[in-house]
Structure formats: structure tokens, C-alpha cells
Symmetry: C2
Subunit: 273 residues, 2 copies
């Protein structure tokens, strides 16, 4: 999917909501466990319920990998079920040296046809480049994350450069790919961080995972993160998909998604630069 | 596997060789392609041929993941075929926030019973800790890698600390786990790097992937990297498993593994501190 297509979706749905399909067999409603593929049944119902409000879906691959071969089947079926015009993110946080990264890229972009994959930056350019060789596919590089451990390395100051490691990652990686193929993961816990990231990458889309269960204000994210083509995908996982664990789980997920979408619609009017 | 068990294996086989099972369907001998599971058949023959000379096997997960569900089956069968007293490494380079890392840990340590998994450090302590909660299982944290891209971030100097990012990773992470549960990946291209790593982590095992096809001298690695319980696992992948792509591939792999083992036996006599 191109950046233009993505922005068109955002304008048409008045939403920059990404629904995180972190589907845990231990957390889905009990009545689904009788089905042949409970994970897929759950995802299918969530997608049906939220597709008018979400522009992107993001399965976290760990949840599927933990189930072995059957998990990969559920993932594949889920991916095929997501409507064509919706952006898909393989939240895999992969990264390895060149020829191995090429294999990961083929797994997610060719075998599975995801639009994008999250990638870890530690191994540098030749671990990221193989993902950038696919037309209209995206790398979403870890920039700054919202967990406590982000302070261990991401916020360290770099000697002789007036910036932190995460800023260096965001600036350096722009030599490898354009804003038509590269986004950044930015944990949305602090407005000042978003301002720094926007300064370092004015044009790029940011995937913000920290709204909802992980904290972070949607208004702050929108105010400090939005650019002239929105430039934001804001993810909510547990806050939507586990709104209820009864028979009404899809209905409740729809309400939660709609509530976020309505708030986003307001911010698009207010902050779209 | 405990550190004591691993050192006993090293002493008994006079080897610290790890064989990298980077098994690529496009590179294995053509006569195997008629078999029901060519990847497993290849691995089985390689394991049979090298098990007297290797103390560890390291499948790179990308090669299996690229094949989808069938790849995971080949991987599972391979893992079960590796002799009990041999150390197994899931070269997955995973890393995510807490509850998601727990899922990856369960996938590799419980569902698949690997002894260890390689983990990327960028997200910090809470991305690594869940892997350290399993008894007699190991995290092998990316320290410094041998690829060109390692210079993008790993070698950056940290402000107000007289060290590079990779040294900071190696020092900081020792607060999270002991040398009985934590190793480091150290790309073996330069002796001075190994000296720095050994200074930062005198007791830990190092997994050295850079000997053979990736360059790096086994003597230098041994001289500068060995400690009083060896503390080294030196990997060779292509140099062993693709020694021949004819019917004699296993025999040639055996010769290549034996050659490395004999050299290692010499260095164990010479450098074991």
C-alpha cells in the first residue's frame, strides 16, 4: 500500500486507528473454544466489528508463534480476511544480518503479503535494507518504545552528537529509505518525546502503540504527532479486543473502536497541518 | 543445560564448535528434494555426521519461518533429533515488551525445548527478563555483531561513559542475569573487540558467529576470548553444512567439522586459562 492510499483511507474513515490483534487463547471468550480455529473466529468477529473504524490491523506475531504451526495457520487466515484497502502490520520486531533478513522479509511480504513489518534497529543498515527492497511494502523501525526498559539504551545520549540513541536511529535510518517505505514505532507516553521525533522525522508515519492499556493521551499524541498527511497510526489492542469476554465481545469491541474513531475524527479536523 | 554440563561437553569432545543449521531449500543437495521433508533429512544427516565434533547446534529461525507451517514442523523434528547432551540455540533474535517476550520465551523454551534463544537488546530489561525466568535456559543477548551495519549504532560512544553502546549493553545486562543464564553474541572480526568484551564480561560464555564464511581467525578468537571454563561457542554454518552439494555432503560436512574440532582441541590445551 502506498502512502497516498493510506492517507486516503484515513480521510475516508476519519480515523487513524490501528487495532492490535494480540489474540490470546486464554483471554478470548470461552464460547469460542469449541470452534475449530478459535483464534481465527475471534479475529474474524473483531475485524467485522471494527473495520469501519480502523485503517490498520496489527497482529503481534508472538501470540501466533506461541501456538506453533496451528498459530501460523490462524495468522494466515486472519491476514486473508482483513479487507483489501486496510493496512496490515506484522508486529514481529525482526532483524538479522543481510541474507537472513531477506528470508524474514520474504516470509512476511511474499508468503504472507503483509503491508509492513516492525524491525529492530540494533544490527544497523544491512539488517533493515532487505525489507526495503519490496515495492509498496513498509519497514516500521523501532524508534522509541513505551516500556520501562526503553530507558536502558534508547535514551542514552550519544557522545559528540546532541541527541539520544533513539534520535540517532530515526535520523540515520532516513539514509536507508524514504517516508514512502519507512515508519517509526514511537511509544506515546510523553508529549516532549513526540515533539523530538517529529523534529527528527517530519514526514514519516509514526506507529504509536502506547494509547489505551499502555497509557498515553490520544489528544497529546495527535497534537504533537500529526503532520499534513496525518502521519499517525495509533494502536489499541486490549482496550478494544478485550472490552468484554462474554458473547457480546464483538459488539463491545465495535463500541470501543467507534469511540476512539470519533475522537480521532475531531483531532483530524483540529490538528491536520 | 547448566554451565557445568556445557563445560563438561566441551572437555569431553575437546571442542567448542557450534554448527549453524541455516538450512536453505535452495542450497541443499538436489537428491534430497524427493524426500517428504528435505529440510529435516538434510539436518538429520548433518547432525549424524557432526555430532562427535560439535557441542551445540544453532538453527537460524528465519530459514524455517520462511517456509511457513511446514518449516516449523521441520524445525521441531530437527530439535528432537539433536542428541540430549548437546546445547541447542534458537537463533531468533527476538525481543518485545514484557508479556509478549513471555510468549516468545514459552514458544522456544516450552513448546520447543531449546536450551537458549538469541535476543535483541534495544528494548531493554523488561524485554529480556521474561526469557531469564526459565530454569537452566539461556538468553544469548546480541552484544556486538560482525556485519557492516554494526557500526551504525553498536559502536557509537556513549556520552559521559567511556564506552560504546555494545559495551554498555554487555555491562548493563549483567544486572539482569548471571553468567549461568546469560551469554553474548560477539562477532569475531577483530581481536581488540574480543579483548574489550572479555574485560566487560570475564565469566560469560560468548557465541561467536563470525568464523568461516563470515571471516575471523579461530586462533585469535580463542586466544583473546577463552576463559577458565572455555567461555566460547564458535559457530560455523555454511563452511560446514554446504561443504559439498553432492551425495557426499554429509561426509564433507564431517571432515569440515573435524578439522575445526582438531584446531579447537589445540587451542583448549594452549589457552584454557
Amino acid at each position: 500500500m502506498t502512502r497516498k492510499d493510506l492517507f486516503e483511507q484515513i480521510q475516508s474513515k476519519k480515523s487513524y486507528l490501528c487495532v492490535g490483534l494480540d489474540t490470546d487463547i486464554n483471554k478470548i471468550p470461552k464460547h469460542l473454544l469449541d470452534k475449530e480455529d478459535p483464534i481465527f473466529e475471534f479475529n474474524k468477529a473483531i475485524i467485522d466489528a471494527t473495520k469501519d473504524y480502523a485503517v490498520a490491523y496489527k497482529p503481534n506475531i508472538a501470540f501466533y508463534e506461541a501456538l506453533g504451526a496451528s498459530g501460523w495457520n490462524s495468522l494466515q487466515k486472519t491476514l486473508e480476511y482483513i479487507p483489501e484497502n486496510t493496512f496490515t502490520i506484522s508486529d514481529a520486531k525482526r532483524g538479522d544480518i543481510g541474507n537472513t533478513s531477506s528470508l524474514y522479509a520474504r516470509a512476511f511480504f511474499e508468503n504472507m503479503n503483509f503491508d509492513s513489518v516492525t524491525v529492530a534497529p540494533y544490527m544497523g543498515e544491512d539488517s533493515v535494507k532487505p525489507f526495503l527492497e519490496f515495492k509498496n511494502k513498509w519497514v516500521i523501525l523501532l524508534g522509541v518504545t513505551s516500556n520501562q526498559g526503553s530507558f536502558d539504551f534508547q535514551h542514552l545520549r550519544i557522545k559528540d552528537k546532541n541527541r539520544s540513541l533513539f534520535e540517532e536511529v530515526i535520523i540515520k535510518s532516513q539514509e536507508w529509505g524514504t517516508s514512502d517505505q519507512l515508519m517509526f514505532v514511537v511509544g506515546a507516553t510523553r508529549a516532549d518525546l513526540l515533539e523530538k521525533v517529529r523534529k527528527a522525522a517530519p514526514d514519516h508515519f509514526l506507529l504509536v502503540p502506547g494509547v489505551g492499556a499502555q497509557g498515553g493521551s490520544l489528544e497529546d499524541v495527535s497534537k504533537y504527532g500529526m503532520n499534513d498527511h496525518c502521519g499517525l497510526l495509533v494502536n489499541s489492542s486490549r482496550g478494544i479486543i478485550y472490552s468484554s469476554n462474554g458473547e457480546d465481545f464483538a459488539e463491545k469491541a465495535k463500541e470501543a473502536a467507534k469511540t476512539l474513531q470519533m475522537e480521532m475524527s475531531e483531532y483530524l479536523d483540529k490538528y491536520l497541518g
